[in-house]
């Protein structure tokens, strides 16, 4: 614990639930009970609650930041919240539950290690529960924490909790997640959020906060070395006249000085000469680190290229099968062109074939005639240049892509390579 302040792990989690599940209230409660709320913030919220004629301080107002959200009492965009305990620093992506805002849920989920799924104890599993769980599984969030909320409104009844747990576990057997925890809570009153509930003595496991503090977040990326090059550094000053470094963030495995590497797409080989983080010279750079790598040989490397290990090569391909979360009102048109962004690379792409659509309630595949906003579809993309890819299941960075509409510049789809 000695150095906990400077040496904490970071846990990113996302929250999902349908409208009125009490998500914002839960986050407000988590912040409030972990003493992460400042007096002036609380005062603001207390005043706002009073102005709205509420008889209690509405903790949901802590996270609803925009005017419309406060007026309508809903969450319309991803809001990020931060808190820390002596064990961990947490980043929360609070995402809205409305069906039309699924893209925000996908956004929040794309960087999360843990997803909180909220279920209203009175309602049990609803369409949104299936959809959110499926998205969490699709985006390969390793851990789900299922909070069965509003237990106060069902007399803290263990039977109700157990039957929802059973029903969810049955559904979740179809999901691809590492671990699921179930916690009966009341966000409004704080039961089992930070403090153990006196109303539910039958629940003897961890509270939500201790669950979040203890989930294993060690990186589970594959060992295959992936270093997408962001930019080339050529100082051309007197001291570093011939220096040529490749700047990027390690996306898989680890790079060490002396390692043999292959640069793709050219296929040229070399060895790692130096690794720098400013004037600090490193012997190893592990996944997630932003560094500058220089190679022993003078070869042509530019943005969008990838430095890889000599084993576990990625694929170089132009026909890419991917699962897409579609964000645009306008579906993919035959032969319409998009800019595909992937691992610091940009290519032109077309949707060559619509393979199938997922029914998010049953996780079954069905035919696809039209694609509308929030659909999850499997497609084959054709690119004008080969992409250096991994399967998303193997690498959440080099297996991910987005499609950008060339006319509007909007991001129209998030893609996971199959």
């Amino acid at each position: 614990m000695e150095n906990s302040y400077l040496d904490m792990e970071l846990l990113r989690f996302t929250t999902a639930g349908s409208v009125d599940d009490g998500k914002s209230t839960l986050i407000g409660r988590l912040l409030y009970d972990s003493k992460s709320i400042f007096e002036d913030q609380l005062e603001h919220v207390a005043n706002s609650s009073k102005r709205r004629g509420l008889d209690h301080t509405d903790l949901a107002l802590l996270t609803d930041g925009l005017k419309d959200e406060r007026e309508q009492g809903i969450t319309i965009d991803v809001a990020y919240r931060y808190f820390a305990t002596p064990k961990r620093k947490f980043i929360i992506a609070d995402t809205p539950g409305h069906i039309q805002y699924t893209r925000n849920m996908v956004t929040g989920a794309s960087t999360a290690n843990v997803a909180l799924i909220l279920i209203d104890a009175r309602k049990g599993l609803v369409e949104q529960t299936f959809r959110h769980s499926y998205i969490a599984s699709l985006l390969q969030i390793p851990h789900l924490v299922v909070c069965i909320n509003k237990m106060d409104l069902v007399n803290y009844d263990e039977e109700i909790f157990r039957s929802i747990q059973l029903e969810y576990a049955r559904f979740a057997s179809k999901l691809n997640v590492k671990g699921i925890s179930f916690i009966p809570i009341s966000a409004l009153h704080g039961d089992n959020v930070v403090n153990p509930s006196e109303n539910m003595p039958w629940y003897e496991e961890k509270t939500l906060l201790s669950t979040l503090e203890q989930i294993d977040v060690s990186k589970t990326t594959s060992a295959a070395v992936r270093f997408p090059v962001q930019t080339v550094i050529r100082p051309k000053n007197d001291t570093y006249h011939d220096y040529r470094g490749y700047a990027g963030r390690v996306a898989g495995g680890q790079l060490a000085v002396g390692d043999s590497v292959v640069v793709l797409p050219s296929g040229e080989t070399s060895t790692v000469k130096q690794i720098h983080l400013m004037d600090e010279e490193l012997s190893v750079a592990t996944t997630g680190m932003s560094v500058v790598v220089s190679l022993a040989d003078d070869i042509d490397v530019s943005r969008g290229d990838m430095i890889t290990g000599i084993t576990g090569s990625p694929k170089l391909q132009q026909d890419i099968e991917a699962t897409l979360c579609w964000f645009s009102r306008k579906g993919p048109q035959p032969r319409s062109r998009y800019t595909l962004m992937h691992s610091n690379n940009e290519v032109k792409a077309m949707v060559k074939n619509l393979n199938f659509k997922y029914d998010v309630n049953s996780l079954t595949r069905e035919g696809v005639d039209t694609v509308s906003v929030n659909d999850i579809i499997n497609v084959t993309l054709r690119t004008n240049k080969p992409l250096i890819t991994d399967k998303y299941a193997e690498n959440r960075t080099t297996g991910a892509l987005i499609l950008v509409d060339e006319n509007t510049n909007e991001t129209v789809a998030a893609g996971m390579i199959c």
Partner: protein, 315 residues
């Protein structure tokens, strides 16, 4: 805010760690974002106020491109109501880094009749900065400006993207933001539009202080406790300066204060403090019960003043 002060005092702050802790992860993320700005835009700059957040962004830019120079100019939107310490600090840093400094002057916007100076006791040039900022962007054809804004600072900022799109009028449309997935940033835009980019979006005030300490980054002395003439207004200690109108009923005190944020001198209140070293500042931040912007009169004007200003083009 975490733990108690005794616990913090025991921490050996010089200790370096071999594995990836939260500060290293935040640093790696910010450096990645800054490099994306360089790669995706034609002309970008760092909005530099002389405050700790923009100093940290500048430091991260130095780390991102070393051993090359920072490939961006620093852009200062100067209200003319500065702490003299801030300006001295800015000029020294620019000299040391060998980067260009671009100044957008609010005074000049007033002189040119582009904006009208507020009057009255609580007059501020805060809103006026928006016009000067947008004019500066247009004059220098910037297509991206980085800033040190953090999501934990304020509720509207909690909704910001790393790459925040601005339309022809420099406006932010919070309800229609592009989704930001994984670490893929979409900086595509039409002519005339631009981006604001916030590399330290995910940092908290505590992270910033810990990082300043860990990296031994120089900051203006204003952040450390010092004696200064102040008056008490709106529950905060406002520094006496040539720009502050001191009313007859107001008394000037000499207090040991420090500033948690640095803005326009007329609206940035100090707090009474004994924290005259970085270590003490960190302890004070950990124990603080008020947000750092709690002493900023610009945020107190209404419940949504930050959102309103951001929609108009503020950062």
């Amino acid at each position: 805010m975490v733990g108690d002060i005794e616990q913090i005092e025991r921490i050996s702050l010089k200790e370096s760690t071999s594995h990836f802790n939260h500060l290293k992860e935040l640093e790696a993320e910010a450096i990645y974002v800054i490099r994306e700005v360089f790669s995706q835009f034609e002309k970008s700059g760092i909005l530099f106020s002389g405050g700790k957040d923009s100093i940290v962004v500048t430091h991260l830019a130095k780390k991102a491109f070393w051993p090359a120079k920072i490939p961006f100019p620093l852009v200062h939107i100067d209200t003319g109501h500065n702490f003299p310490e801030t300006i001295k600090f800015r000029d020294e840093l620019v000299e040391q880094l060998g980067v260009d400094l671009i100044i957008g002057s609010v005074q000049q916007s007033i002189n040119q009749g582009r904006v009208k100076e507020e009057t009255g006791k609580d007059a501020s040039r805060n809103w006026l900065q928006i016009t000067t900022l947008l004019d500066t962007i247009e004059e220098h054809q910037f297509d991206a400006l980085m800033g040190g804004a953090r999501r934990d600072e304020e509720k509207a900022r909690a909704k910001e993207r790393f790459f925040s799109h601005r339309d022809d009028f420099g406006q932010w449309d919070p309800k229609n933001q592009r989704p930001e997935l994984w670490n893929i940033f979409n900086g595509k835009k039409h002519k005339g539009e631009h981006f604001r980019v916030f590399p330290i979006s995910n940092w908290t005030e505590m992270d910033v202080w810990q990082y300043i300490l860990a990296e031994n980054i120089a900051i203006p002395s204003l952040y450390l406790a010092h004696y200064r003439d102040v008056i008490c207004r709106n529950n905060t200690w406002l520094p006496v300066s040539e720009h502050l109108h001191v009313g007859e009923e107001e008394t000037i005190h000499n207090k040991k204060v420090r500033f948690r944020t640095l803005g326009d001198i007329t609206i940035t209140g100090g707090i009474e403090s004994d924290a005259d070293t970085l270590e003490k500042v960190i302890m004070e931040v950990a124990a603080a019960r008020q947000t750092e912007r709690g002493n900023r009169a610009d945020d107190k004007r209404s419940e949504t003043s930050m959102e309103d200003r951001k929609k108009e083009g503020y950062f």
